[in-house]
Amino acid sequence: MTRGESRRTVGLGSLPRRDRRGRIFAAVCLAASLLPVVVAALLLGAVLQTGAGLEEPRVLLERLAGSGTQGLLGSVIGSLWLVSLCIVIAIPLGVGAALHLEGPRRRGRSLLALNIANLAAVPSVLYGLIGLELFVRALHLGHSLAAAALTLALLVMPIVAVAARSALRAVPDELREAGYALGATPWQVTRQVVLPAALPGILSGAILAIARAFGEAAPLLMVSGLALSSTPAQLGDPQHVLPLHVFEVLARPGDASQVDAIVGMVVLLGTLVVLSAWAMRLRHRHERRRDGQ
């Protein structure tokens, strides 16, 4: 059948046949994109089932509260301390780097951007080694909370920097111009006009950084002196943080029951979900406000 003939005889009949292949393909793609979500949910359910009787939130909370400061509860508190300290260090550093990058053109700017990109390429465990050599040993901080917080701050600083950078970029030039026209210096304009306008974006970057710092374990392996803890963990010990606690329960099955690890996992996941939802809401609200103007 020549082309001309097929064109004449083509009616609605021949179209669905080709369309069906496309439709099957689309269905396959849908399945592929749902697969990770479904698998994750199944795995989560399976884990909860392993720790029998943990399906109810109430039971989880009781278990958590009852574990005391040397157990799971203590490690949650320890995590909170560590993350707070880390964030207090990381936010100024990250915002500072972003301001530097977005400021007037200077030599070495692309070098800086390249280095920040490089840092993202470094696996998190190597941050642990940096922290070990630099903070624990060279600066004689020992296996302390300070060393751990500094190490984590290095890890999450690029997250804050990247978010801050795009938030600063998104501030419309007209606002800056208005500031200049009123006779303000560049620094005054930055501090009082640009930064407040960029705040939602910076904040959502900070939240992502918190979420990351809360769940990181690999750097802390190196920095918090895990092996040295033969004595039960006290509050304020850098190794007494949630992700490490879960790790220890799994890696050295001993007295602690595996259920502890599962409860810890639930807390980690719950925190992640809450923080992510918050960051997303901030982003949406900021975008909506910006478009509405």
Partner: protein
Amino acid sequence: MPSEPKLRVQDLSAWYGERRILDRISFDVPATRITAIIGPSGCGKSTFIRCINRMHELIPEARVQGRVELEGQDVYESSVAPEQLRRRVGMVFQKPNPFPTMSIRDNVLAGLRLTGEAAPGGDDDTVEQALRAVALWDEVRDRLRRRADTLSAGQQQRLCIARALAVQPEVLLMDEPCASLDPIATARVEDLLGDLRGRYTIVIVTHNMQQAARVSDHTGFFLDGELVEFEDTDIIFTSPGDRRTEDYITGKFG
């Protein structure tokens, strides 16, 4: 009729990179009067007023040559800090740009806050005075703490004018201030200009000839970076001296 010009422009030229935007502009801006700058788009009007308050040089590849004198002193002299200049010469932009995260009240005070100055006579008085000057006081007196982006475009623009006035400048530069406003809001801003006349020296760039004719005392016609003619508004619109001015005004181009 005031004798000393407030601003004196002498052989002002401006470039953006290799492209020349203004070509040896020279004229005097009389004090406490309204001077309009008209001309087709791309003739350099906006660049011109940005050269007066040294905003043009904020663009990376901008260059300026010539003199701009404010009461006899060259604003481009190395001893002059641009920030100081901009306190005496304020600017209102084409699109209203209040600071969105600040309240109405804080926006008015923004010029002072940004530079760390205290408001002469107290914050509340300054806010009220500035808002009255732009005929906005009665409309917003009950919601001063509300965010500035809750106002309409016309109100926002008047707020921006109030913000500029709160710094107590001597000169007010306006870059097509009514371009993004509807006719009613435009009329209110034009009325406002009539009130400000006599207290401030105003230079207003506009692409709307009728507005220039309504509002200004003197008018300058720019074309392709040149100042073609500068005259009393009445004269320029009834019997312009230059053929090009006449063509533009009668709508033959632009």
